[in-house]
Symmetry: C2
Subunit: 371 residues, 2 copies
C-alpha cells in the first residue's frame, strides 16, 4: 500500500525499513531540516498544519499513520476526512494530554500515581497539600524525553516552579519511589486482536531512555498479568489500531501506569531482531489489515541507545549478537543517533556482551547496574 | 558509507533494506525500466556500459558492488580505477564464463561434472563421444534461471542443438543424475575470515528456484565438510570479498560443483530471518570492512519464491512464522515478484506450515516433495 506518515524521524525510518520488504511505499511529512525516514520514501517538507501539504499527503497515499505524538490533532482530523488515519485522532489526543491519560487510567481502574490538574498557583498549593511532597510538576502537553517536568521537594519551591512552567496547563503528580520502569508494547489489529510483546525493563538517565532489557528480568506471573491487563484495557477502550506503548512504574508487586505513547516506541526497538515479528512490522500489519505476527521473544535482548555521538561501529559489530541501527542524523549532544540491539540465547550470555557494548558507548556507561 | 550498486533488481533492493539500518546510503545503476532497489536509494537509469553514468556512480559513492552477474566486466574495471569495487572483477569474470568456472573447480580439485568446451559442430560431436549422452549443452555466458541450456539425449539431436545455441561459445557437460541440489552461501571479509551459512537444499522447476530449505535436511558430517571445503577454497582463491554462492549437485555422498554466483543469492534469502545475520547484511559488512556477523541458523527455515503472480498476502501473513518479501515489480509470467521465508523451531513444525503456504502459492505447488 501507499502509506503516509506524519513525522519523518527515526521511528518513521524504521517503519519504512519494515515496510519496504512488505511492498509498501511511503510518503513522510516532516517539517524539520533533516528527515531520517527519507531513506525509505518520499519526503514532503512542510509544517504539520500546512493544509496544502496535508492534501498532497492524502492524495498520494491510501492510509496514513503518525510516528510523533506531538502532531497537531487537527492535522490528523484534516487527513481523516480524506483517508483512514490509524491509530485514530482519539489515541493521539489522549496521549497528548497527561490529564486525559491519567483520567483514562483512573477510569479503567488502572493504578496510577495520585494526580491533580494545576491551572493556577492556588491549584498548585492545594494539590501539593493533598498529594504531599515530593511531587512532580509536569506540563500537560508537549513533554517528551523528560522535558517539561520538575520535581518539587519543598513547599518553598512551588512558586518558582509554577513561574517556570505555568504558562500552560499543568499536572501535579505524586513522586513515586519506584523499583524500576517497565513498559508494555503491544499491537492491536483492526479486528481487535492484540499481540503483546513481553514487558521491557527500561533505564533512563537525564530523562532519556538509555537501556532496555527484554523480556524484563525477574517478572513474576502477577506482574506479567497486570502488564497485559492494563495495556489491553487501554488499547480496547481507545479502539486503538497499531502499536501502543504503556510506560509503568513497578512499586513492589504493583504496576502504576505513567503514560502512553500511541505509536511504535523506543523501548520496543529490540523487537526488530529480538522478537518473531518486530514492532514496526506489526504496526504496519495492524493498520493495513493484515493478521498480526507473533510477538514472542527470540531469546533475550538488550537495547542501548546511541546518544550524542557514535561509537566505533566495527568494534560494535564485532560483539556477537550485536545489531547496530543508525538513523542518518547529524550528531548533536543529547540526540538519539541510533541504537544497538544485543541478542543472546540466555541472560548469562547476554550480560557480558552488554558490558562489552557499554564500554564502547560512553554516554550509556554506568546504566547497566540494576536496583 | 555511500555505496554504489551495479544492478537495481530485488537483490539490490534487499542490500538496501539491510544497509539503510546500518546508516549506509545507496546509488543503483539499473538500465531497465523498473528498479525495485530504488525504494532504498537513488536510481541512475543508464546502460552498464555508459561511461558518463559510471562516472556519476563513482563520484557519488565511496565503494561499489554488484548484484547482477551479467554486468560487463569492463564496467567494473572502469569504476575500479576510481573506487574500490568488491567483489572484484576477477570474481565477476570467472562467474560469467562457465568454462572458467569449471576450470577453477578442476584446478582446485573440486569434483565437477565432466565438461568440454565446444566452439564448433565438430567439437560438439567429439565432446559427446568422450563425455557420453545424455549431456547438457550450455552457453558459456549469459545463462541464468535455466536459460541457454539444452539436454541432449540422442546423437541425432546434436546438430539442431548446436544450430540453436552455437552462435556463441558453448560447453558440453555430463548430465548428472543427482539426488538433489545443495547450495553453499558464504561471506568472506577483507581480512580473509569466512562465515559459512549452513548448506541449503534447493528445488527448481522450469529452471527457476522454487523452494529452499535450510539448514538442508539429512546432511551428513561428510557432506557438510565437503560443502565448506569447496566453497572455502573458491572464496580464498578468488580473494573474494562479499557473499558468494556455490551451487552443487549431491550424488550419493559426494558434492559436484555446478556453478558460482559472485553475489548474494536467491537460495540465501531465508537468512534474513532464519540466520543470526542475513546474507545482505554480511555482504555489506564484508565490503565495508566491518567484522562479519554470525551465520548460524535460527531454527529451521524454508523459502518459497513468488513467481508470476502474488498470492493473498493477508492469508500468507496468517501462517505462523511466515515473512513475506515483495519486490515492487509488475507481475509477469515467470517473473520473481517476491519470496516468503517460513521459520520454525523444528522441521516437524516447519513442514505443515510449508504445506499451508504452498497451497497459497499455485506456481510452487508440487515442489515440496523431496526425492
Amino acid at each position: 500500500m501507499r502509506i503516509g506518515v506524519l513525522g519523518g524521524g527515526q521511528l518513521g525510518r524504521m517503519l519504512g525499513e519494515a515496510g519496504v520488504p512488505l511492498g509498501h511505499t511511503f510518503v513522510f511529512l516532516e517539517p524539520a531540516e533533516e528527515c531520517p525516514a527519507a531513506s525509505t520514501g518520499e519526503w514532503i517538507r512542510a509544517p504539520f498544519g500546512d493544509a496544502a501539504a496535508l492534501e498532497i499527503l492524502a492524495s498520494r497515499t491510501e492510509i496514513v499513520t503518525y510516528e510523533f505524538e506531538n502532531v497537531p490533532v487537527g492535522a490528523v482530523e484534516t487527513i481523516a476526512a480524506r483517508r483512514p488515519v490509524l491509530p485514530s485522532a482519539t489515541s493521539l489526543a489522549t496521549a497528548q494530554d497527561r490529564l486525559a491519560e491519567k483520567r483514562l487510567f483512573a477510569g479503567l481502574g488502572i493504578p496510577t500515581p495520585a494526580f491533580e490538574p494545576v491551572d493556577c498557583a492556588e491549584d498548585l498549593a492545594a494539590a501539593a497539600e493533598r498529594i504531599g511532597l515530593p511531587a512532580v510538576l509536569k506540563t500537560r502537553r508537549m513533554g517528551y524525553d523528560g522535558r517539561g517536568q520538575q520535581v518539587l521537594r519543598e513547599r518553598s519551591e512551588l512558586a518558582a516552579a509554577f513561574a517556570a512552567l505555568g504558562e500552560q496547563p499543568l499536572l501535579l503528580e505524586a513522586f513515586v519511589p519506584f523499583d524500576r520502569e517497565l513498559s508494555v508494547v503491544a499491537a492491536r489489529a483492526r479486528g481487535g486482536e492484540i499481540a503483546f510483546y513481553p514487558p521491557i525493563e527500561n533505564l533512563h538517565r537525564g530523562g532519556i531512555l538509555r537501556l532496555s532489557r527484554a523480556p524484563a528480568p525477574a517478572m513474576s506471573a502477577a506482574l506479567e498479568t497486570q502488564a497485559r491487563a492494563h495495556a489491553g484495557k487501554i488499547l480496547a477502550t481507545l479502539e486503538h489500531v497499531g502499536v501502543l506503548a504503556l510506560e509503568t512504574f513497578q512499586v513492589g508487586d504493583r504496576l502504576l501506569a505513567n503514560e502512553i505513547a500511541p505509536r511504535v516506541h523506543n523501548s520496543g526497538h529490540w523487537t526488530i531482531e529480538g522478537a518473531r515479528t518486530g514492532q514496526f512490522e506489526n504496526h504496519l500489519r495492524a493498520i493495513t489489515g493484515v493478521p498480526l505476527g507473533s510477538s514472542d521473544a527470540r531469546g533475550h535482548s538488550a537495547m542501548v541507545n546511541l546518544i550524542g555521538e557514535l561509537p566505533d561501529l566495527a568494534a560494535l559489530a564485532a560483539i556477537p549478537g550485536a545489531y547496530p541501527h543508525l538513523y542518518g542524523k547529524r550528531p548533536r549532544p543529547g540526540r538519539k543517533l541510533g541504537h544497538v540491539t544485543l541478542c543472546a540465547d540466555s541472560p548469562a550470555l547476554l550480560e557480558p556482551r552488554l558490558e562489552a557494548l557499554l564500554q564502547l558507548v560512553p554516554e550509556a556507561s554506568g546504566v547497566s547496574s540494576r536496583a
